[in-house]
């Protein structure tokens, strides 16, 4: 609406010039105001200074007179005179007069001494009829002047002419002058104060002093400063006025000129009502903006609805796997083993977590549905182990498909939703399993950043989950569609959401997904994901500052200090372990004796890769482990000297690949040469 006030550009410029003149006027007035302010302040200070100066002169005058009087009033002559009768006083009076005359003050024209108690005028000298006088109490204690404790029976009065004292006070400073007519005088009366030097001023005192002080010369420097200030402000104003004009021309006037130029006739005259058209145009733009805002709000609502639908679809998709487990277990549940019961509970937990996740999102976001869930630290290894057990169980109807877990990085903690993570990996595993038509292996590996340095050019630490299958593979031209567009391949009921969801989640967590596939040979899916700092994790037993900002936490071959062991034995027989330990010690070697494979897994990151590992075959225990089962895992982690320490026939283990040899239960030290070398 502001443009309506300026019907033409010329008017706008005219008004701008007016405002500039107004601005200059304001500066001028401001300078005058400043001048007055400074002047008044200085005047007040000067007046205060003059007042102090005159008061100081008065005090000096009083002090001088008081000191002289004190000397005289302390003499025996003076005191005896006060205490004497008329006869004695008559004798003393000439001496007293001479004494008082020693007060060198030309202003004193008369002196009287009066006994207040008897109202007796005991002494008088000079002119004593002046109305202007100062009366001082004479207080004595033990014949000494004492204003505090003394007895004040007498008063001495000095009669002084006002003009005279004003001149005397003025004489103390060349700038103080007696008050003249029509002069703004400083007025002071001794009757207003209590003390005159060291004497008390008595009632009846009336001694006005009129004086004034010459004002200082005009401070031309101040005026010069004010003129310079005005000039500076004016130049400042001109400078900014020009800048402002340029700004207005560039951003306001020129665009308006262009707009209105279209409305001008050829001869340059403005078409009538042109400004109304401009206004209409602006109104139209405003209306469009409002419509756009409304449309955007509507789109937002639609997006929310779409997200709800997407979420529901994902839930339905994710819930399929655990439901399949439940379905397969349902038939066997009566004769169920302990292991099956555990799987059943695990599946139920997953379904519950999905449901809770869904509920949490609705609870937290009322107006917007977010697919983010609360991050929570979790152990990746445990989650994957649990997931693989679930997959093995759920696909037990396909014994020809093996799911292998090759774990070389323990205690990895991630900080995103564990349920979403399990869903992501579950989707990839499902795809891998389903890609194997008849028989084959699905291998899941975990690696840490030490092996991934070239993948990301960041300081974050990543771990890799690699899922490889030797299934049918994906055509190269379909990989992108599978990831981005939700394309489903080879499944009757496939929704195509699995890998799309995986990609979405991994990107959300700051990770990366890679798919390499060869039709007919298999597919490798690599998920690169970040792991968390130690501050957020309570599960780690080992800390290491990796520098640059945060403590990173993961136990890797590179990070952990190596253990000093030379030999490892895994045997559930305690006596055998002790026998091996003693034997190793006798041969100057350190032997780590473990009772099961889990203990070995925990220590793997801290073992040298060239260490000799001896495994008992029958480990028994709760899980009835077999030592040879871990051999592939050890080889995968880089260990090469792996032996079986068993009483069984070596031929029984010919299928085990990667063994360095098979020894008996007897300690084989030194172990430089194994008993049996497998070719």
């Amino acid at each position: 609406m502001i443009w309506k006030r300026f019907s033409t550009l010329a008017e706008f410029q005219r008004r701008t010039s007016r405002s500039f003149l107004l601005w200059l006027l304001l500066i001028f007035l401001g300078t005058i105001f400043l001048h007055r302010l400074v002047f008044e302040h200085l005047s007040r200070r000067e007046a205060h200074y003059q007042s102090l100066k005159i008061q100081t002169s008065i005090q000096k005058y009083a002090s001088t007179l008081s000191e002289q009087l004190a000397i005289i009033a302390s003499t025996d002559l003076f005191i005896d005179f006060l205490h004497s009768g008329s006869a004695t006083r008559q004798d003393m009076e000439p001496n007293l007069t001479a004494l008082i005359a020693r007060i060198r003050n030309k202003d004193i024209v008369g002196v009287t001494i009066r006994n207040k108690i008897k109202d007796d005028l005991v002494y008088s000298f000079g002119e004593i009829n002046l109305p202007t006088k100062i009366l001082l109490s004479l207080c004595y204690l033990n014949r000494e002047l004492d204003q505090r404790y003394g007895v004040c029976e007498n008063e001495i009065a000095f009669y002084i002419a006002t003009d005279s004292i004003s001149s005397s006070i003025a004489g103390s400073d060349t700038r103080i002058l007696p008050c003249l007519a029509n002069t703004d005088c400083f007025r002071f009366n001794f009757a207003e104060i209590d003390h005159f030097g060291s004497f008390k001023i008595a009632k009846g005192t009336n001694l006005p002093v009129l004086a004034y002080m010459e004002s200082p010369e005009v401070n031309y420097l101040l005026y010069l400063f004010e003129v310079l200030l005005f000039l500076a402000l004016s130049l400042f104003g001109i400078f900014y006025q020009r800048r402002f004009s340029r700004f207005l021309s560039t951003y306001v006037a020129d665009p308006i000129r262009k707009m209105t130029g279209q409305l001008q006739s050829e001869d340059g005259r403005v078409i009538p009502n042109a400004d109304e058209s401009d206004l209409l145009e602006i109104q139209c733009l405003y209306k469009n903006l409002q419509d756009w805002s409304r449309a955007r709000a509507k789109i937002g609502e639609l997006e929310i609805s779409a997200q709800i639908g997407e979420l529901a679809t994902h839930v339905a998709h994710d819930i399929r796997s655990p439901l399949a487990v439940l379905e397969s277990l349902q038939k066997e549940i009566i004769s169920n083993s302990k292991e099956q019961g555990e799987l059943l509970r695990s599946s139920i937990r997953r379904i519950q977590s999905i449901a809770e996740d869904l509920l949490l999102r609705y609870r937290e976001k009322k107006s917007q549905i977010s697919i983010h869930s609360e991050p929570k630290n979790f152990n990746v290894n445990l989650a994957l182990k649990r997931l693989i057990e679930e997959k093995v169980c759920s696909h037990r109807d396909r014994p020809s498909v093996r799911v292998l877990f090759k774990n070389c990085a323990y205690f990895i903690t991630a900080s995103f939703s564990s349920s979403q993570f399990e869903r992501v990996v579950s989707n990839v595993l499902n795809n891998a399993i389903e890609a194997i038509l008849h028989s084959g292996d699905v291998t899941l590996r975990i690696k840490v950043r030490s092996e991934l340095e070239d993948i990301f050019e960041t300081d974050l630490n990543y771990f890799l989950i690699e899922i490889e299958d030797n299934g049918c593979g994906i055509p190269a031209d379909k990989i992108k569609a599978v990831l981005h567009n939700g394309l489903s391949l080879g499944k009757e009921k496939g929704s195509g959401l699995g890998l799309s969801y995986v990609r979405h989640r991994i990107r959300e967590w700051g990770g990366k997904i890679e798919i390499k596939s060869e039709l007919g040979s298999g597919t490798v899916v690599r998920l690169y994901l970040p792991y968390v700092s130690i501050q957020e994790s309570k599960e780690f037993r080992y800390k290491k500052n990796l520098g640059k900002g945060s403590l990173r936490s993961v136990l890797t071959d590179r990070d952990l200090p190596p253990l000093p062991w030379d030999v490892v034995l895994v045997d559930d027989d305690m006596l055998n372990r002790h026998n091996w330990v003693r034997s190793a010690r006798r041969n100057g070697q350190l032997l780590l004796a473990l009772s099961n494979l889990n203990e070995l897994r925990e220590n793997l990151p801290r073992l040298r890769k060239d260490i000799n590992i001896f495994l008992d075959s029958d480990l028994g225990g709760e899980f009835s482990e077999r030592g040879e089962e871990i051999v592939p895992e050890l080889i995968n982690c880089g260990f090469s000297k792996i032996f079986l320490a068993t009483g069984h026939n070596p031929e029984k283990f010919t299928h085990v690949h990667g063994l360095s040899g098979i020894v008996g239960k007897r300690p084989p030290f030194p172990v430089s040469e194994p008993i049996l070398q497998i070719s």
Binding site: D80, G85, T88, K118, N142, R143, Y149, G150, V151, C152
Partner: protein, 352 residues
């Protein structure tokens, strides 16, 4: 003898005409030789007196004397014995009569003895007990008792409480940190503080014990000090004490005539010149009527009555006659000089 604040103490008191006639009646030998000169000014002789301050400023006394004796009375006042001695020695021959303390009589005895001046007939009218004392003193015939005083404690019940059983030490201890006034008289204070200490070392130690770290004023002009909030007590003469006590703002003060510490002191009057005016003034001032009137006005004790005005505290003690109290003894000249010198040193050392 103690001075006092007469104007405030005896407001309303006026000597009536009958008293004037009585005075004239008892002094029949005073010549009335006053006459006006041609200028109308008084040509009466002047009688010059050196007196303790306050005696002759009592309303009516001066007029009585001047009219009775037809003289102009001029009197110089002093406030301490030291001052008296200084002024006396300065202008010994100036004064027709003097009023002074009997404690300094030995110091001035040789200077005041006058042959041919006989006024001791007045002493025959003293109270018998007092008359006995007068005879024991063996003053010259130109010296009379003028008036007697009692010493005592004027104390402030707002700050201390002094009783008749208190010793000097206890009294000073009670007043610790407060204002104390001791009258400015060497013999009086010596009697109060050191009467029992003949040993000089012990006496000096006692001075320190009593006065060290105390706010002590040695003065007879203490009316301003009495008004201070932290005033404790003043050891003073009864006349001064009662006069001050009667001031409206000091009604709360109390005066104690202590049976063990208070004593009687005496002021003497001596005629030094044998003029008729001087004799008339001495006889008028020493007359029973005038002395009784002064005693009445000032709370001192007239030698004619020897009667102690009933203070509240003293009446409880049953003290009604000065004869029953100790009288301050007059030391010989040398002793007095020693006491006085010590007193001056003590004032310098402990004064406020």
């Amino acid at each position: 003898m103690g001075g006092f604040y007469f104007r405030e103490a005896i407001i309303g008191l006026r000597l009536n005409f009958a008293l004037f006639l009585l005075a004239v009646f008892f002094v029949p030998n005073i010549p009335a030789h006053g006459a006006l000169d041609f200028n109308g000014e008084s040509s009466r002789p002047t009688v010059n007196v050196l007196t303790w301050w306050g005696y002759l400023t009592i309303d009516g006394i001066r007029e009585t004397i001047e009219q009775s004796c037809d003289v102009n009375l001029s009197f110089d006042q002093y406030f301490s014995n030291s001052e008296f001695l200084r002024r006396w020695r300065q202008k010994e021959d100036r004064y027709d009569l003097i009023i002074f303390s009997d404690t300094i009589y030995p110091s001035v005895a040789s200077g005041i003895k006058r042959k041919g001046i006989v006024i001791d007939d007045i002493a025959s009218k003293y109270h018998p007990d007092v008359q006995k004392k007068y005879k024991q003193k063996k003053y010259p015939k130109n010296v009379l008792f003028f008036i007697h005083s009692l010493t005592g404690f004027l104390w402030n019940p707002k700050t201390v409480s002094i009783s008749r059983d208190d010793t000097v030490e206890i009294i000073f201890e009670k007043a610790s940190g407060k204002l104390i006034v001791l009258l400015d008289d060497a013999l009086e204070v010596n009697t109060l503080l050191f009467e029992k200490d003949k040993n000089e070392v012990l006496r000096d130690q006692r001075i320190v014990d009593l006065l060290q770290s105390r706010n002590v004023f040695f003065t007879n002009e203490f009316q301003t000090i009495l008004s201070k909030e932290n005033f404790a007590f003043a050891y003073s003469w009864s006349g001064d004490a009662i006069a001050h006590k009667n001031r409206s703002e000091l009604k709360h003060l109390r005066f104690l005539v202590h049976p063990a510490l208070s004593h009687v002191s005496t002021d003497l009057i001596a005629q030094l010149k044998s003029t008729t005016g001087a004799e008339c003034v001495v006889r008028t001032l020493s007359s029973e009527a005038v002395v009784n009137q002064i005693a009445e006005a000032t709370n001192y004790v007239s030698p004619f009555k020897a009667e102690i005005k009933p203070f509240r505290e003293s009446s409880k003690n049953g003290i009604s006659n000065i004869a029953s109290l100790r009288w301050l003894s007059s030391p010989n000249r040398d002793d007095f000089q020693d006491i006085h010198a010590r007193w001056e040193r003590m004032k310098v050392k402990f004064t406020q």
